[in-house]
């Protein structure tokens, strides 16, 4: 095994071009587990900790450019307003020690269906900034996950940042685990209301081979909200609409039975989380809506 320590992003890209099999390591919270337990013996390990840019973020007009290695604890602390869904998701990641090291880039690189950030990214809308010596490209999050622990990166590419749409409405995130802290998701659910476009986006984790959106559920809810004039009148979403939305979210799942939970439970739990997060976000939207109207 060789340990590569690029001092700059350019060096890192060059090294990755030269050794496409090199495994990048930043927080180490996935890679080191595999090394400690003898599951992986990469020929090259490439440390990204020396590249300061990766731990920085910029808040733009439309989106936040989040460096691949910004630790979850920083997201929780500094980006709660701009990225509320991701901040909530970050808070459910493992333990404080892990949140101090791990970042979204690692979650994306590993592309495990159980990665905590994915449902929040899918719900918010995001693009992955991938780069190689050949150039930079932005991969839409919906096209990023290609299979179980597989993603759309080319062998010579590294994740530099994620561009996540700034919240224009309430977002929520919920995750089921069989412990009250430090637990891998049995399944997870992210929901973002986008009042500007009058759309709703979802993200589901650990309930299909890849993180997915519940597109049929989104379409149903978008139509139901539009039809009922909910975005304008700020009424409570009717229980039947919430139930139908929850059922469609559950139906979007394609889960497996494993040691962490049954497929049947995962479907059920995604439905419950979908209904609850819809209630929470919509209540929040109505609250804001009323405040705005009151002011006007």
């Amino acid at each position: 095994m060789d340990f590569l320590r690029p001092a700059s992003w350019e060096e890192a890209l060059a090294a990755k071009a030269e050794h496409p099999a090199a495994v990048p390591i930043a927080g180490g919270t996935d890679v080191m587990v595999e090394i400690n337990f003898d599951h992986r013996r990469p020929e090259y390990l490439m440390d990204l900790n020396r590249i300061g840019d990766l731990e920085e973020w910029e808040v733009g007009e439309e989106s936040v450019r989040l460096g691949a290695s910004v630790p979850y604890s920083k997201i929780m602390e500094h980006l709660r307003a701009e990225l509320p869904g991701l901040a909530l998701a970050s808070h459910t990641v493992a333990s404080p020690q892990i949140r101090n090291r791990g970042g979204v880039g690692g979650n994306l690189g590993t592309a495990s269906p159980a990665g905590d950030a994915h449902p929040a990214l899918l719900a918010a809308g995001a693009e992955v900034e991938a780069e190689s010596v050949r150039g930079t490209r932005r991969i839409p999050i919906d096209a990023f996950y290609t299979g179980v622990k597989r993603n759309a990166l080319a062998p010579d590419e590294l994740i530099r940042a994620v561009h996540i749409k700034k919240a224009d409405g309430p977002q929520q995130y919920s995750k089921v685990g069989t412990r009250n802290a430090m637990v891998i998701a049995v399944c997870a659910f992210g929901l973002a209301l986008h009042p500007e476009t009058r759309t709703v986006r979802t993200g589901i984790g650990s309930a299909a081979p890849t993180p997915i959106r519940a597109q049929a559920a989104e379409e149903f809810l978008n139509a139901a909200l539009e039809e009922g004039g909910f975005w304008d009148n700020g009424k409570i979403v009717t229980p039947s609409v919430a139930k139908q939305f929850a059922d469609l979210c559950a139906a979007a799942c394609n889960p497996i039975d494993d040691v962490r939970g049954t497929a049947s439970y995962r479907r059920h739990a995604v439905g419950v989380m979908a209904r609850r997060t819809l209630t929470w976000t919509w209540e929040s939207y109505r609250g804001a809506h009323r405040t705005t109207e009151g002011a006007a």
Binding site: R5, T29, M32, V33, Q97, A181
Partner: protein, 190 residues
């Protein structure tokens, strides 16, 4: 490969490090600092918690090569670290009396008697938070850092901050007592 970094304020170097080694392994097996414990090696127990550039992390998940040039504080350095922090917040040179006291202490170093302890270390002993003690070093590093950030934590704050540190002996109640005790002593300036 060779690694140079700072541990508990002292420059350290480790040679012939295998590239897959963790910071935990280097501390324990190469630098003679076995205080950080190897209970799971997958970031699920917190026993190996150290501070890396001030931030609590699982040293089992830091590749040794990643600490080149960085600063690490382990449980072995916690008392010094806490003393220097206290000095940073107020005047505290070493008085002549203290210097004499230092001389007089440690008549039986094997027992640890006379060892200067940080407030959180003392509180863990006093509150009965130590049984087998294997989780203790990691908990101390995590709890000390929490009290640095949040001197008056609620019970829920303590539980959240320590939720990455497993203990199998105590049922955590005495650990809660210890952290409350350290916080109370800290706020009384004891």
């Amino acid at each position: 490969m060779r690694i140079d970094f700072t541990v508990n304020g002292r420059p350290q170097e480790a040679d012939d490090v295998w590239e897959g080694e963790s910071l935990l392994y280097v501390l324990r097996e190469r630098l003679g600092l076995p205080g950080s414990k190897n209970a799971c090696e997958q970031g699920e127990c917190g026993s190996c918690t150290v501070r890396l550039d001030g931030v609590p992390v699982c040293s089992c998940l830091v590749a040794a090569g990643q600490v080149q040039g960085r600063e690490v504080v382990t449980v072995e350095g916690l008392a010094d670290f806490a003393r220097e922090r206290a000095c940073g917040t107020g005047a505290c040179g070493t008085s002549l009396d203290e210097a004499k006291g230092w001389q007089a202490q440690g008549t039986d170093s094997q027992t640890g008697e006379g060892t200067e302890l940080s407030p959180i270390q003392q509180a863990f002993i006093d509150a009965g938070a130590v049984q087998c003690g294997f989780c203790t070093p990691g908990l101390l590093v995590a709890a000390d850092e929490m009290l640095e950030r949040n001197p008056n934590p609620s019970d829920a704050d303590i539980r959240e901050a320590l939720s990455g540190n497993l203990c199998r002996c105590t049922g955590y109640e005495k650990i809660m007592d210890a952290v409350r005790l350290a916080a109370a002593r800290q706020s009384e300036g004891v």
